[in-house]
Amino acid sequence: MEVKTLELDFSVELFATGWQTALGRKPKIEINSQASFSKVTPPKVISFHIENKTAIKTSSFIFPEAPELFKPEPQEEPDQVEQARQERPLASADFSESTTSSPLPQEDLLKKIAQRQTRLRPPTDVVKLEDRLYYVLQPTLENLFSGSSLEFPFTPFPYQFEGIAFLYPSHGAILADEMGLGKTMQAISAIRMLLNSGELKQILLICPKPLVTNWKREFQLWAPEIPIAIIEGDQTRRHWQWQEAQAPVKIANYELLMRDWPHLEDEGLHFDLVVLDEAQRIKNKNSTTSQLVRNLPRTRSWALTGTPIENSTKDLIGIFEYLAPGEINENMPLAEISKTARQHTLRRTKDLVLTDLPPRMNRDANVTLSPEQQTSYEMAEKEGIIHLNELGNSITVQHVFELVLRLKQICNADPRTGTSSKLERLEADLEEVAASGKKAIIFSQWVQTLDILKERLTHFSPLCYHGRVPSKKRDSILTRFKEDPKHSLILMSYGAGAVGLNLQFCEYVFLYDRWWNPAVEDQAINRAHRIGAAGPVTVTRFVSLDTIEERIDQILREKRELFNRVFEEGDMPTNVGLSQDEIFGLFDLRTPQGPISKAA
């Protein structure tokens, strides 16, 4: 392909068309504003102010820290724990009020305890919210114990933990558990916790004199680390003991309190807690004992009794004068008394909490007087009534009592001839008891009757436990009774044997004569029918038919019903105790004030 290049040479001219001029001319711009656009309303904006920090009102409560005492200590080796347990006095496990199951290794015990959850509750008499929260916010009792150096020698029952939780925060409380449920252990454990938490420093425990050694043993068992001082001995020694600061727990008996009162007043002692055992002792608010106890300077007041009502609601009012003065009085409606009483009282019965306890079988042994007894009885009654009628307006309850006692003694055994239908019946029953290898307790209100029984029942090798037996010999008697198979029988007076003993190896209880008060009878029966009872407990109550015993029995039944109504139904009569009218009514007598309207 060939490419040729040509040169082009020709001119090009511009013609004046005017178009180029137009291009060089500056443009003319006119701006026209439209007023209507500027008047458009802008869109509305709603603003929300979001607070990042809301003011929240709070309440704060600061509590005192647990003292050093509650800190856990290094665990003892299991062998050491077991050894320590075994070294404890035998008597404390045998005859004390201990009411728990068998000992457990500490590890098992802690596991068992940890499974339950018992919370402290603020009592009604604690009003300040901070104080109430202090109790609400405490750990469970089980955690408190498992997390501390405090040990239990035996596994407490759940209801016992509840009892401790009831007492712990209470300033005024009645622990009114039925006998045998372990009021002592619950009180000691609550005291132990309060001492260890630093809430208490000085405690006074007052009990009947025969029970002082029991309390000492129980403290050794349940709170061995707490030093206790028994107020006893001569005056100088006692005065020193009252001042003893090293022992946070002082144990005194009611009688000593009376004797040492001037000293206590002079020294101005104050107790963080006063505990009354067998608090029915102060049921009569006019008694000297009651007045002294009420005057004890104290912060907390606890009462332990299985029988806050023995005769009438006045008994309960008497106890309340000590623990919560003025909260109940005789003029209050019954329902209100009952409601207030329940706020301060914890009452459990065996039926309620010990479903595994062997049954108690009551048997009324109604006997007919022997002809000789009948003759003596009729003669005594006739003479007695004539004598009482002759007294006219000078007759007193004491005169009637004397006749009652005389007639009851005839029912037990005829003093002229020595015959006794009761004794014959008892002997027959005891043959059966002894043959079965079981053991029995016989209660009477008279040592004289017990002496007669001892003489007539020698073939059972009976042991005696009553007011004439020296205190020092009593524990050894109980040991013999328990361990020696030849002694199948123990004769006890209600006064000496009704309280504080643990004889659950006995399966038979005989009430040879009847006490005036059913609560005392219950206490006696519960020596055998209690936690740890080997088997069913048979209770035989002797009543001589058509005698004063049968009439008294009727009144006792009514009293028992009263107690049940106050603490179980909340409805009660004001007074169904053995009133003057009732005592006179036993013989259809007239009181000095007029005729008896209510015969027995």
Partner: protein, 241 residues
């Protein structure tokens, strides 16, 4: 309970929120010493979200109220320095954003369901106390859960309990409105000293410190139990209102 191995006794804080029948929230913060005894208790007056907050916070309202508002307020009230804060509510965990103290989750004894098989397996595993059990599909992140992931499934009342005031003091009046395990299961957990601990995925590094503290306290310290005390204390406080 074993003796602590250090000279400084640990103080634990227990923080929870309770909802009553009127949907009011009550915060409670209980400080316990190493023996489980109370040192401090702080509680709030009733708190209730207003309508605007409900709309604006949406599904994050509960972490906001529980963690940022109530828990943070209570936390700031304490006088004692705590070693560990324990809660029984997932929605309280955000309080960890405001403190250097580890915050962990456990199941309250008042609303605790029977132990799941999974927990039992964990506690019985040979790696007990060693391995951190991370779930196969954990949520994207703690922060994402609460503030980004709108589809997070936290039932509106699942973390609270109804507050009623029963006349009988011995009985707990609390009934959980919904079972808790559903809100726990997505969290990493590990068993220690008789308790199962749940952690926020954002704070897995807290585990070592928590283990050390709980080891010192021993096996008898039930971390779920104090929530019952808080519950009862709030009820008690409300009685006087």
């Amino acid at each position: 309970m074993n003796t602590p191995t250090t000279n400084t006794p640990k103080i634990l804080g227990f923080l929870t929120v309770i909802q009553d029948a009127q949907q009011r929230l009550f915060g409670g913060y209980l400080l316990l010493n190493h023996l489980g005894r109370p040192l401090e208790f702080h509680c709030t007056a009733p708190v209730k979200a207003n309508r605007a907050q409900e709309i604006l916070y949406g599904s994050t309202i509960k972490p906001f109220l529980y963690g940022e508002q109530i828990a943070k307020t209570l936390f700031e009230k304490s006088k004692n320095k705590v070693s560990l804060v324990v809660t029984d509510l997932v929605d309280v965990l955000p309080v960890r954003l405001y403190t250097q103290v580890p915050v962990c989750l456990t199941k309250s004894s008042i609303s605790q369901d029977p132990q799941t098989d999974q927990e039992a397996a964990l506690e019985n595993s040979p790696e007990k106390g060693l391995a951190l059990n991370t779930q196969p599909e954990p949520p994207p992140s703690y922060r994402g859960d609460l503030f980004e992931n709108k589809s997070q499934n936290i039932p509106p009342t699942s973390t609270t309990t109804s507050l009623t005031f029963a006349p009988s003091p011995g009985k707990t009046s609390v009934a959980p409105t919904e079972k808790q395990p559903s809100q726990f299961d997505h969290l990493p957990s590990f068993p220690i000293a008789g308790n199962t601990i749940y952690l926020s995925p954002d704070n897995l590094a807290d585990r070592q410190g928590i283990c050390q503290i709980l080891d010192e306290l021993g096996n008898d310290f039930d971390l779920g139990e104090p929530f019952q005390r808080i519950q009862e204390a709030i009820e008690e406080a409300q009685k006087g209102v």
